[in-house]
Symmetry: C2
Subunit: 379 residues, 2 copies
């Protein structure tokens, strides 16, 4: 069977070097060999988070990291605000409620980014807010939030901690934790990091660590104090996903050899080129401003035929819409290990699938529109 | 550099087939391909747990699975008993306390297995006990508990749930969940399952599921109701460690092709043979009855020289003692993918290391003593 090719915003394809690393004999997690690997991973994650804080590696999904942030920072009865407008934004509210936190949604229409005005009203109504949770790149809608402005506003008008879900933004967009005043930032291995799922990364500001001292929610596996103590000695409190950490080590080395700025530019180019290509074919993208991690596209009529063609004839796996957007969107991931050829392949497959389902094309030259953007934007 | 060879009770060596599976292109966790893999994993895990209950796959370490058991079954203020005598036994007490459960240790001397008499007194004193936590194979001491007798006694004399840590026992020993009346059984992927770390498995009896209905401890990532609901549709509530699940699929297929009874016999042979070999060399094993997952051995004098020789000259990685047994023991894992040649290699390396450090040997023919046991025990 031909392997399907993933264009999903997580998991993202694994570079050959990463897959080869996975296949190496396993090493012990309490060995000097592993400590060397983990320390290098720690240092490289700090570069990507642009922070001097420890970036802790947890064995769990991104949702687990969000939960770790919540149980380490808050106490029952605390008020936390979170922006709406997406499945992942909503998840942090769900977790807060599960732990007895008063979670207040800041209403944001799906497809639109949260604005300072949206926050202003909520912060006025909730001066007691312990934190505001923001999603940098909302994976369910492909919308990018302006974290820098939002963070600045929150700090200027409240004492709330700024907590940022960077799950699908890190590596696709700059998200300098320290200079943007982010108090909590977390991400997952299977996104821009080009590694398999199973690891999540989380970092806290000095203010957040201070707040963690008095947080009374119960925790053990997700106890970040234990994780920080272990971090200092190049280890983890519980058995980590050793194989995945080693694969991540290879991926991080590749990313930083390319250079963080170049990695960001690569994502910006794919995003701009793909949007141009889709437009040329007469398709309509959803949401703005667009995240460079993925592009959400309105499903054309005969959507079922179209997606079946894409998948069965072209082996292209995209992601569907989520929640109320289930039958409205499909989402094309370009987060992680993609090159121009990969992206031209997807637009060609989309064009063929539209034709096969008898759908109208605007110009029928999506790849030419993409190539123009690639030529215009220096890599 | 020559790769060190692991004789540690987790992580255990990965068969070549498992490593090759890790290197395959990643598939999406919401795809029919992955559902097929996960359903096969689910079915095979039920065979190893010997249960008709769902065996849920969590992305975390064994400690995470223990925590999942605790937060899903209990409410703050509940009393839970747990057997002492080992690091892993103690961990379940620690987690209970972190969640406001009254955790009562049943005193057991390290190196000895908990007996019915030990439990009897504690159960008399705590008729309110919601559960008793037992460790089947205590990884820190190499001691095996008689779960069948203990479980029978607990059920006959209380309403407490029988919760069993099978982390290093499953695959090494029979642990038929349903017929032994186990209410909670959990394990980790990097032990007898011959897969990388990063996954844990957990199953609940009907009584335990019933109890879970009223358990009020907060949870989200470890919510087993969500995991059970997803299990029914061959999926997981959060992004799983896809690559590790696929590797586990290969490992489980290998184990069940060998046959569960044959796998248990293989571990029994390695355990008996190694003990005979160690005895022939004049070394003293620690603890009884012995788990077939690992053998704890009293460190000879000049222990530092001995372990250095073993590691640096022979590339044999064993595990040290833990906690108060740190400088008393070393532990040789034979849980998972080992054959006779591997075991003869370790005894030869031990013999050479003893000689190199000027330590007295009894007969100096550990491998012959081992071979005798192998010849006497049918595979």
């Amino acid at each position: 069977m031909k392997e399907p090719y993933l264009y999903t915003p997580g998991p993202t394809p694994l570079p050959d070097e990463v897959r080869q690393r996975l296949a190496r004999p396993i090493i012990h997690h309490r060995s000097p060999e592993f400590a060397t690997v983990l320390r290098r991973v720690h240092k490289n994650l700090q570069q990507i988070f642009e922070t001097r804080q420890p970036v802790l590696v947890l064995t769990c999904s991104g949702s687990g990291a969000g939960e770790a942030g919540i149980v380490n920072l808050f106490s029952p009865g605390d008020t936390c605000l979170y922006t709406g407008g997406g499945k992942f934004a909503a998840r942090w509210g769900q977790i807060m409620r599960a732990y007895g936190i008063r979670a207040v949604e800041i209403a944001v229409q799906p497809g639109r980014a949260p604005r300072v005005e949206d926050l202003a009203e909520s912060l006025r109504q909730h001066p007691e807010a312990a934190s505001v949770w923001l999603v940098h790149s909302e994976t369910s809608t492909g919308v990018l939030a302006d974290i820098q402005s939002l963070s600045e506003y929150i700090h200027a008008h409240s004492n709330a901690l700024v907590c940022v879900d960077g799950v699908s933004s890190l590596c696709a967009h700059p998200c300098p934790m320290d200079s943007w005043g982010i108090d909590l930032l977390f991400a997952g291995s299977q996104k821009g990091f080009m590694a398999p799922p199973g690891l999540a990364f989380i970092a806290l500001s000095d203010r957040a660590w201070q707040r963690a001292e008095s947080a009374s929610l119960p925790k053990f596996y997700f106890d970040l104090h234990a994780a920080r103590e272990a971090w200092l000695s190049g280890t983890t409190p519980w058995t980590p996903a050793i194989t995945t950490v080693c694969a991540l080590d290879t991926a991080l080395t590749m990313l930083l050899e390319e250079g963080l700025a170049a990695v960001h530019r690569r994502h910006a180019r794919h995003s701009a080129a793909l949007r141009a290509g889709l437009l040329a074919l007469g398709l309509e993208t959803f949401g703005a401003p667009p995240s460079h991690a993925l592009t959400a596209v309105r499903l054309p009529s005969a959507g079922e035929c179209f997606l079946r063609e894409l998948r069965d004839r072209h082996q292209i796996v995209t992601a569907g819409g989520q929640g109320e957007l289930k039958d409205v969107l499909f989402r094309i991931g370009h987060l992680g290990w993609y090159n121009e050829k990969d992206m031209l392949r997807v637009i060609k497959a989309i064009e063929c699938s539209l034709i096969a389902c008898g759908l109208p094309l605007r110009s029928g030259s999506g790849d030419q529109a993409m190539q123009k953007v690639y030529d215009a934007m220096v890599p």
